[in-house]
Symmetry: C2
Subunit: 345 residues, 2 copies
Amino acid sequence: MTRTMQRQVTPPRIKRRALSIPAEFDSDPVVWAAWLYYEEGMTQEEVADQLGVSRASVVNFLQEARDRNIVTIAVSSRHLQTIGLAREVADAYGLTNCLVVPDDGGRLPVHERIGMAGARLLIERLQPDDVLGVSWGRTVQALSTALPEMKLPGVTVAQICGCSIGTTEFSPELCTSNIANRLGARCVNLHAPGIVSTAQIKRLFVQEPALVETFKIIHKSNKVLFGVGSVDDAGTAMRSGYMTPEKIAPYLARGAVGVVSGRFIDRDGKPLLGALDNQMIGLTLDEIAKVPERICIAGGSDKVDAVYAALNNNYATILVTDVATARSLVPRASRSSRTGAARRP
Amino acid sequence: MTRTMQRQVTPPRIKRRALSIPAEFDSDPVVWAAWLYYEEGMTQEEVADQLGVSRASVVNFLQEARDRNIVTIAVSSRHLQTIGLAREVADAYGLTNCLVVPDDGGRLPVHERIGMAGARLLIERLQPDDVLGVSWGRTVQALSTALPEMKLPGVTVAQICGCSIGTTEFSPELCTSNIANRLGARCVNLHAPGIVSTAQIKRLFVQEPALVETFKIIHKSNKVLFGVGSVDDAGTAMRSGYMTPEKIAPYLARGAVGVVSGRFIDRDGKPLLGALDNQMIGLTLDEIAKVPERICIAGGSDKVDAVYAALNNNYATILVTDVATARSLVPRASRSSRTGAARRP
DNA sequence: CGAGACAATTGACAATTGTCAACTCAGTGT
DNA sequence: ACACTGAGTTGACAATTGTCAATTGTCTCG
């Protein structure tokens, strides 16, 4: 979602005489245009003259250069962390990192903005031999589509909870494979339903050699990426056919405030175990909590309670959220939250 | 040398009412502006409204964001290698990499353009524990100023040839420390003249414990960066007081065509050893040739002979040059050069 | 060989962005 | 108190950039 530009035509009349020796067959004009424009700071018209094409074509070339990742325009996530609010949240909840995406006046939905920032953060943090466990949800899905195409062959992306049955636009398997594809990473899908009908069937599944192998990889995750669902609304989990109201009811009755990777948590973030849990296939909350780096991407006013709970129980080491959510989060923090973070001198 | 932009003022009249909750004290408006503009693709006017400032201020913020490296606009060097010409040169001379910077119609001098591309390449290639040996010259100097500010604390930048006496704008010690500073790397200077008056004095210097220590580090270089000087013109080496015409004369007489890191080479690239060599303090050509990755940055019609010689004797594993030089280089190559590189389908 | 289809390129126009001199406002010195 | 300085901001204007429909070129097929 970089700058929007497209094509155009050149205005000047001194055209058509290629200045130097440009129009040879030994170069990709797109690369040239990108270099001259972005690196040397030429104007599009100058580039057009240099290349011997119309300025409109230059616009096209530049567009293509961005699409092909020949030029990269990136806001470094490190700087989004320098925003005072991000520091306050990080301090308050003991996070190693916190990204707060600015408000854009409702231009883009929250989950998309958070997805974009999360994408940026993710590619800056991934190391060659990482195994990234991926949960699912609207925000995770948004992150996956915001990722640029890359080549990170050493990385593995693993699906940490079973598949959903419904056919919404997002699902665990789609999130995972999308991310892996964009990243050029190995993709490990968990080929099993997220929820099976009985605890016994779950046991059967889990003992299946193919799944055992898959789980071996999943358990090697040194980073996890997950969203947080609320239970107030009809929630992601239900809309996607992952759960049904009847199944959820007992959890709600016992005080569930949110869903992390398909599992319910109470207001303190404690796992809320119930009958359903024995039918769920995927990493448990305790297992997730053991992964060294845990990236939580979530925001929106309806999710504040759930995010607060999740943070409170330290499920996340890194949080990507939006301004409004961050603002609600700070005063709630159990520890001392410092007011008035450092401003520029 | 990214896009040129500066400050400005906003045109619309619907201003001054901050749309959401932007003007709080918890954020750096520069980061916000950068995010909204570059990441979300808002127009500057929209950003201005969102932030509650004039559009002119937004222009200023964006300028500052680029200056502060909050946004990075980069042409990936990998793509400069995809230019057919670069491949031809690489093939012809057995290089692992070759970058060819496009012609810009004389807008910027060759060495600056090459320096920019070299800078890009360098930061993409440097690994955490690298020791980078740095020679000197106009192009190396240009590279150093084209580097962005970074933090690469694990990297060491070492000066591989002694200091010059003159006070030109560039010198071995300046090149090295410039590069180290920009990169946020450790800087190891070689505190000795590049040329001393007698071979005996050189021996004394080199045995000095402080220098012995320095050389230990220098010899650990796993990457080197050097330019190539011609001897046709009055050359860098002389203008900087590094050498004098009398000293050079014997080398010229014996067929010197170029200078690499202060040492003369003949038309086959062979080191041309003479009286002076025993008075030079710094890595020898043979020592340089043993470094695994050797980045040569050089171009310009006056240097073609010298670059050809250097490439011919395999001093470089990576070459950064300009189109004109690359064009001259290809037909000279001793091996089979393939004509007509791949075009886009 | 011409018609048709499709992609690339272009010029005119509209929108966005950069420049600049003037202005505001805090802080200072007298 | 008041003029002065300097940083930060602004509006009007100029330059640059994006859009789009029309044109051109290329390739395929009849």
